[in-house]
Symmetry: C2
Subunit: 181 residues, 2 copies
């Protein structure tokens, strides 16, 4: 079954989890689902993401077959080995600490004025929030169930809402003449 041992990264488990939810899918389908759910908390560049199913299949975690018509895209599905690896990972309560990577804070660290960076950041959060709220309205995954994808999308919406309010509070303090910190 397993042919070539590989290290499983968070991205690997993201693919396994998506396949568990969606059933047999193409890499493109998986990428779409990623963007609508967990991408907020686990970013993957598309070149990395497209390579992952093939890598997992080569190690025995996924089955691979090809469409017989049209683009002859590859279709992937969990094998028993893949499902077992996913279940084992999910069952363990250990997780790497949260990482926040923020180039704007890095610029402030280097001496930049926070205000213009915050204004741009505010726009970005507003755009993302609208995008996620759109997914929440239209997707088959509804905010009323308690599945993983739904919780994740709701967490993303909460994250952008909170960021907006925190930025607004900071900017208001700045304009009132305070120096928040």
């Amino acid at each position: 079954m397993e042919r070539k041992p590989i290290r499983l990264s968070g991205t690997s488990y993201a693919v396994l989890a998506l396949l568990s939810h969606l059933g047999e899918s193409t890499p493109y389908d998986l990428k779409q689902a990623l963007v609508r759910s967990i991408e907020n908390f686990w970013q993957v560049p598309h070149t990395t993401f497209y390579a992952e199913p093939a890598r997992l299949a080569a190690a025995g975690y996924l089955s691979e077959r090809q469409e017989q018509h049209g683009r002859r895209r590859k279709l992937y599905a969990l094998t028993d080995q893949g499902r077992a690896a996913l279940d084992e990972w999910v069952a363990s309560p250990v997780a790497a600490p949260q990482e926040v990577r923020d180039e704007a804070i890095l610029k402030v660290f280097a001496g930049a004025d926070p205000a213009p960076l915050l204004h741009r950041r505010r726009e970005w959060h507003a755009t993302k929030l609208a995008e996620l709220e759109g997914y929440a309205q239209h997707d088959e995954w509804r905010l009323t169930d308690h599945t993983g994808p739904t919780r994740t999308l709701a967490t993303g919406i909460a994250y952008h809402r909170f960021s907006l309010s925190a930025i607004d509070a900071y900017l208001a303090a700045l304009e009132a003449g305070d120096q928040p910190w």
Copy 2:
């Protein structure tokens, strides 16, 4: 001056900014300062970080000289080219969006129970908060000035405090029988 063109990453600018604050330093000094300030919002594995000053020096952004005694460590300092690159980057108000990478949320996405993950996460934030509050008390960088490193440290403290309170609120809701989302 410039010998071999390289791409400057966030990590590159972190090194330049640290050197701008500290003056001539060894990679180890820089790493220590990183941990006490911006590492909360820009993580760099030590193997990557140690390699960066040499890479920047080879491209002309840093000067390099060696201690004459003891461990004969290498000492790096900004060149004019390095300072110019840093200033230009700081002056531009564009920054990549904030990225949050959270393996715990990824596990919840895959179906894990949030509660045990949150308890562990709570411990981690509490530990980090204590560590940062220690830096704030003892460092030469004081929370009363408004330099970049100080703001960054204060932001890190605020981040961990907020995370703790958010986790506590979520756990309290869970224990009260609610399903927050």
